[in-house]
């Protein structure tokens, strides 16, 4: 009797399949059902798109393409009061199975659900992916004889399974035993989704920890914490101290940060402090910025306090007399070389730049805020009171700065396309506390 059941299931599924074809024929744009080229099978087949799009046409005018809603779009439209989160997403997916027992059009639904995951914020949730894989009817797509093994059995469904796994891979989600069991139940052990699963299990752990400067997945929302994280990320010296010079006014019922008092967080290491104390007051120090730093997908801006490079004649090498410490040498010149002929130095003069004395991240990029930072720095660096400070700031908008060459050229006279303000000397003679 099982074969009768199988035939009935197959018939209803093919009807569902016809439903999908119907959707495409009625003019749904191709972007709704992304055509999976053989590339996704990892077969090494030739690319289709390389030949076709070598000569792109002129850019089309900006107009919104008229998108026909896919058949299950309204399932994801929540009631006005309901927030889009994991619970509602899970509810929607489970409702789909309840609405039609034979799971007609599940491929379409799964593609749509994959697209909607980002809105609901569940794209990195393994349980949700397993639930989505659960939508597939089980045991139907497994090949049963040699011919089904040779030909790709149920190619659209296999492509859909691969699409689910590919989205998992793109978001860095590692599949687990439940995923493996589901895939075996749905597609069988020799199928393409199973192959992709094996590849994910092989390659994702290999590349999981290769970042020597890891940034946590969940970045802090508080700008002060984010600034502290960013400054610690940039500073290689572990003994550097982070100081918060100014906290933003606490969020009250308006819920917005007060723009007149942005946060200022600075960092300075003891070596930099000592260097600043040794700095010659006749030479000015510069406040340069803002430079961009990307933490995962957030961009923060920082400023630096640096001095110009001393000309070679003024550079002094600190010499430690040999008898300073009799117990162990103060200067250890351990060379990598094995003998006289080893030479691991590159035959090039490295770019030399002036020393950096401190870094800071502030909510605003104007001179007033940075002046407050300098005043805060003076508490720990009293020598700064005598040194002239020059502000070299690029054009600041407070928003995400578009790529402007001015960002990296604070030392040049203003180029015609960028706008830079260079302030005159500011003597911080009045040592404010």
């Amino acid at each position: 009797m099982s074969w009768v059941r199988a035939i009935l299931l197959a018939r209803s599924l093919s009807r569902g399949w016809g439903g999908i074809f119907g959707a495409t024929l009625t003019g749904a744009p191709i972007s709704e059902v992304p055509p999976q080229t053989p590339q996704s099978f990892h077969c090494g087949a030739a690319t289709h798109n390389s030949e076709l799009s070598l000569v792109p046409g002129p850019p089309e005018p900006q107009r919104k393409p008229i998108k026909a809603l896919s058949p299950y779009e309204d399932l994801f439209r929540q009631a006005p009061g309901v927030e889009r989160d994991k619970a509602s997403f899970v509810r929607t997916v489970q409702n789909f199975g309840q609405h039609n027992v034979h799971k007609r059009g599940h491929v379409d639904f799964i593609y749509l659900a994959l697209r909607k995951m980002r809105e609901f914020g569940v794209e990195r949730d393994l349980a949700v992916y397993n639930l989505l894989l659960d939508v597939f009817p089980k045991e139907v797509f497994r090949p049963r004889n040699i011919f089904q093994h040779i030909f790709v059995h149920y190619p659209r469904q296999q492509e859909c399974g691969i699409a689910v796994l590919e989205q998992m891979e793109n978001n860095g989600v590692m599949p687990d035993k439940e995923t493996e069991f589901l895939l075996i139940q749905i597609f069988g052990r020799k199928s393409y989704p199973m192959l992709k699963f094996l590849r994910m299990k092989l390659w994702l752990p290999r590349f999981k920890n290769i970042n020597p400067f890891p940034v946590p997945r969940d970045l802090p929302q508080d700008p002060v914490d984010l600034a502290k994280l960013g400054l610690r990320h940039m500073e290689p010296d572990l003994s550097a101290k982070v100081t918060v010079y100014q906290m933003p006014l606490s969020k009250d019922w308006t819920g917005a940060l007060d723009p007149t008092q942005p946060h200022i967080v600075g960092i300075q290491s003891p070596n930099q402090q000592a260097a600043l104390a040794r700095h010659n007051p006749a030479r000015p120090v510069f406040v340069e910025g803002p430079f961009s730093l990307w933490l995962r997908n957030k961009c923060v801006y920082y400023h630096i306090l640096r001095a110009d490079l001393l000309p070679p004649e003024e550079r002094e090498v600190e010499e430690i007399p040999e008898e300073w410490n009799l117990y162990y040498p103060m200067q250890l010149d351990l060379e990598y070389a094995r003998s006289g002929w080893d030479d691991y130095e590159f035959d090039i003069d490295e770019v030399e730049e002036g020393p950096v004395f401190a870094m800071c991240m502030a909510g605003a990029h104007d001179q007033a805020t940075l002046a407050k930072w300098i005043q805060g720095l003076q508490e720990t660096n009293p020598a700064l009171a005598q040194i002239p400070v020059v502000f070299r700031l690029a054009r600041s908008t407070g928003e995400l700065l578009t790529s402007s060459p001015g960002l990296e050229e604070p030392a040049r006279p203003p180029p015609p396309e960028g706008q830079e303000e260079e302030d005159t000397l500011q003597r911080q003679q009045q040592g404010q506390s």
């Binding site: 744009p29 080229t37 792109p56 940039m234 590159f346 090039i348 490295e350 770019v351």
Partner: protein, 328 residues
């Protein structure tokens, strides 16, 4: 065709005027034929001096005597747009390069003495100290497939580094077949020898790639392509990731060549093999981290060196489940 015609004319003229000095180029133009015939009536003392009859030819000849490099004209002279001259200069340059190659072969590999090449342990391959160094690189972005990313390359502060900057936009082009987009790349040009022959780098004595860069915290990808004539291998490359720290300090990145994984047409392949270093064609940096926004990368220089502490040959094993054919 025109060149051969001129060649024949030139040799004919040479036979006709034996007094011509040997420093003159054997390829003469039709105009030179006339010049020579007129010179038979009025012998010119030194061909290097600009003659009064034809100012243009005199200027051209003056060029030849100076042995100036191609395409760089001194600012005082008006740039002469002459097709014959361009071809002549190009041919001269290629033959000069050929001569250099043949002569260098006697000195040693790439023109350096053998002991120097064998004992070398750190080599600077690309440096960015002038505009001509930037010409060795090409920048591309997904504009070629219709995307919206922009990327530019220019010299950085004080001509001491190169700055690659731009904006990444992962908006997919609406051409019905691309669902993802957003990449920018900087690829080195393939080194060319005489007559535009394709040359390759030989890094078999080294085992680590060294980069001195200053980034903005974004992860980049380093791709190395091998030099090959086989068409199916044109899209194969070896890649690895380069994580920039961000910040004002210069960052030294060392990537051993054993860590590069093999990929074909943009996909990691199941059968992984080691990167062979004897014929490297080009290196490239790609940014495709799916985050929209501006980026920059400042590069000081790129070199290769031998790390004696690194003894690994290849970092990736093949798996018997995925590629059972290798384990029979």
């Amino acid at each position: 065709m025109a060149l051969i015609h001129k060649l024949l004319n030139g040799t004919y003229i040479l036979r006709k005027c034996p007094k011509r000095s040997t420093s003159l180029h054997p390829f003469l133009g039709i105009h030179f034929a006339d010049y020579c015939s007129s010179s038979l009536q009025k012998p010119v003392a030194a061909p290097g001096k600009a003659s009064s009859q034809r100012k243009t030819e005199g200027g051209l000849q003056g060029h030849h005597q100076k042995e100036v490099a191609l395409d760089i004209t001194s600012p005082e002279e008006k740039p002469e747009v002459s097709f014959d001259k361009a071809i002549r200069d190009e041919m001269m340059d290629h033959f000069r390069r050929l001569k250099d190659e043949i002569v260098n072969h006697w000195i040693g590999p790439e023109g350096r003495p053998l002991h120097e090449v064998l004992l070398e342990q750190a080599k600077v391959v690309w440096q960015f100290r002038g505009k001509e160094d930037l010409d060795k690189w090409i920048v591309t972005s997904d504009k070629t497939i219709g995307g919206r990313s922009e990327v530019f390359l220019k010299m950085g502060k004080n001509n001491q580094s190169a700055l690659l900057y731009g904006t990444l936009s992962s908006e997919a082009p609406q051409d019905g077949e691309s669902s993802r987009s957003g990449y920018c790349a900087m690829i080195s040009r393939v080194p060319r020898g005489a007559f535009e022959r394709r040359l390759s780098y030989d890094w078999s004595h080294f085992n680590t790639l060294y980069l001195r860069v200053r980034g903005d915290g974004r992860p980049w990808m380093v791709n190395i392509r091998e030099d090959t004539d086989i068409i199916q291998r044109k899209n194969q490359m070896y890649s690895y990731f380069m994580f920039t720290r961000g910040g004002p300090y210069w960052q030294e990145i060392k990537i051993p060549f054993s860590k590069f994984f093999f990929s074909n047409q943009g996909r990691i392949r199941d059968v992984q093999s080691q990167l062979l270093l004897d014929k490297i064609s080009s290196i490239g940096f790609t940014l495709a981290d799916k985050v929209d926004g501006p980026f920059f990368l400042e590069i000081d220089f790129i070199g290769v060196f031998t790390d004696p502490a690194h003894t690994e040959e290849f970092a990736y094993e093949n798996s018997p489940e995925i590629s059972p054919g290798l384990f029979k």
